[in-house]
């Protein structure tokens, strides 16, 4: 089901010179980006690159130290977004009640709630678990519930932070199917992953981040075929970038760090 067409569109999202600092370190640097409607964007990069931070800055869970994050609609943009985290966060209540709570927060009229819950549970294969305590479900089922909950809100943008990192292959497959279905229903997907295979399967567009900087942003086909940035090339080849710390600096045209040749 597409998002109601009389709701104001919040995309495109514009990031302008965004920096984020914490504990004296600049963790996100000089990010300028425009995210148009319609695509599935996958953000990849090594661990600690800042993918999760970037997602949280977009969604508004963190405020940039410098620069701006602007949706097309300034106030109330949050209502049209949803986020799924690496580990699902469920309240100590039933599966159905967790979804109901989200609907309540979004002030969905009471008479619609039962149908919506029913539908999303059916679409994620969780219908038979509706009255179970959400927290006794397996982690795969809880993650599907997190998706169901997000879907019930009919968001225009869905952020996902490494949603299958904690799951086994079967659950990963299920989750990817659900993400695809949510996208087909009209939601913009912005997702991080460290799994290249997953990125290849899902992405329409790829953003490559390393050390807090966006090094490359390109359509998926082109990126995986021939990434322009050499660090991106290394990453796509499966080379763990942290081995090459000193070489990083040389490749980026910076002077080598002290003590390195």
């Amino acid at each position: 089901m597409t998002a109601p067409s009389d709701d104001p569109r919040i995309l495109p999202l514009e990031l302008d010179d965004v920096c984020f600092e914490a504990g004296g370190n600049r963790l996100i640097k000089d990010v300028t980006l425009r995210l148009e409607p319609g695509l599935k964007t996958v953000i990849i990069g090594p661990n600690g690159a800042g993918k999760s931070l970037f997602l949280r800055l977009c969604h508004g869970l963190l405020r940039p130290t410098q620069g701006s994050v602007r949706w097309q609609q300034e106030t109330g943009a949050g209502r049209h977004q949803a986020m799924v985290f690496q580990r699902p966060v469920m309240l100590r209540r039933s599966v159905a009640a967790n979804i109901k709570y989200a609907l309540k927060l979004h002030q969905v009229p009471r008479r619609h709630r039962a149908d919506i819950i029913d539908r999303v549970l059916h679409q994620t294969g969780l219908k038979r678990l509706a009255d179970q305590p959400a927290r006794v479900l397996s982690i795969g089922e809880q993650q599907k519930l997190a998706l169901a909950r997000a879907w019930a809100l009919e968001p225009q943008v869905l952020f996902l932070d490494e949603p299958t990192a904690s799951l086994d292959p079967a659950a990963t497959h299920s989750v990817e199917e659900i993400i695809a279905a949510i996208h087909d229903a009209g939601t913009r997907i912005i997702m991080t992953t460290h799994d290249l295979g997953q990125a290849r399967r899902i992405a329409d567009e790829v953003i490559f981040i390393n050390r807090g900087r966006i090094l490359e942003a390109a359509p998926a086909g082109r990126f995986f075929e021939a990434p322009e940035n050499d660090l991106a090339q290394a990453f796509v080849r499966g080379e763990l970038l942290w081995w090459n710390k000193g070489q990083d600096n040389r490749k980026q045209g910076l002077p080598p760090k002290e003590g390195e040749g």
Binding site: R56, A82, V89, R92, R93, P133
Partner: protein
């Protein structure tokens, strides 16, 4: 050890004979303490949650104070409430001294810090777990309070029971503000104190055993409920 067997016999005698003054005293004890705990929970739960979730000037000081008030000696609370409710005091016009209402007031003051302090800890920990997801769903700390309280219900029930334990066990406050008036403000603990002062140690001990059994029953009931709903506590 004759006192203990005498005490047990005395207790049994009172209970089996359904001694009317015993039922009156037990009834009043329950009424006073349960009412006090209910009111203390109505105040302490939201206050504890608010302290947990909001940053404000002097927060550190407030947290330390509330924690310290948990250990307030009941007799001191009794004295303070007496001074407030006395005819010579600011609220004397209500004529509440030496009534069960005064006893409830004193016990509310005793129990609220316990519930508030424990609630604060529970909610603080829950917010660490839930903050990002709840904010993403549109619930900032204010809106999240009811959901957090409900989520922490198992631990919070234990906190409330701790408060009930404190209320039903204390004698200092209810003695001063209640006056231990026969048929009016005499509760289990003040009865025990009275019998001790008369030298009726066996009877006092017997009453003490009855009080213990009452308290244990309430706690057992609460634990049974928690145990049977364990799946929801995962």
């Amino acid at each position: 050890m004759t006192d203990f067997s005498d005490a047990f016999a005395a207790a049994l005698g009172l209970v089996l004979g359904l001694d009317s003054s015993l039922t009156e005293i037990v009834g009043l004890s329950l009424r006073v303490s349960l009412t006090a705990v209910a009111i203390a929970a109505l105040i302490g739960l939201p206050v504890g949650a608010a302290i947990a979730l909001f940053r404000f000037r002097g927060r550190f000081f407030i947290v330390v104070c509330v924690n310290a008030l948990m250990g307030m000696p009941p007799v001191v609370v009794g004295l303070i409430v007496y001074l407030l409710l006395s005819r010579a005091g600011p609220f004397g016009v209500f004529g509440l001294l030496f009534t069960p209402t005064a006893m409830i007031v004193a016990q509310v003051l005793l129990v609220t810090p316990i519930i508030a302090a424990l609630t604060r800890q529970v909610i603080e920990d829950l917010w660490i777990e839930y903050e990002e997801q709840l904010r993403s769903l549109g619930a900032g700390p204010g809106r999240a309070v009811p959901a957090l309280l409900w989520d922490g219900r198992f631990t919070l029930i234990t906190a409330i029971l701790a408060g009930f334990g404190r209320a039903s066990a204390e004698v200092g406050a209810v003695m001063i503000v209640g006056g231990n008036i026969d048929h009016v403000t005499r509760v289990m603990t003040t009865s025990i104190a009275l019998e001790v002062s008369k030298g009726n140690l066996a009877l006092a001990l017997g009453l003490g055993m009855i009080l213990l059994v009452l308290s244990a029953s309430i706690n057992a009931g609460a634990y049974l409920i928690q145990h049977s709903t364990k799946r929801w506590h995962a």
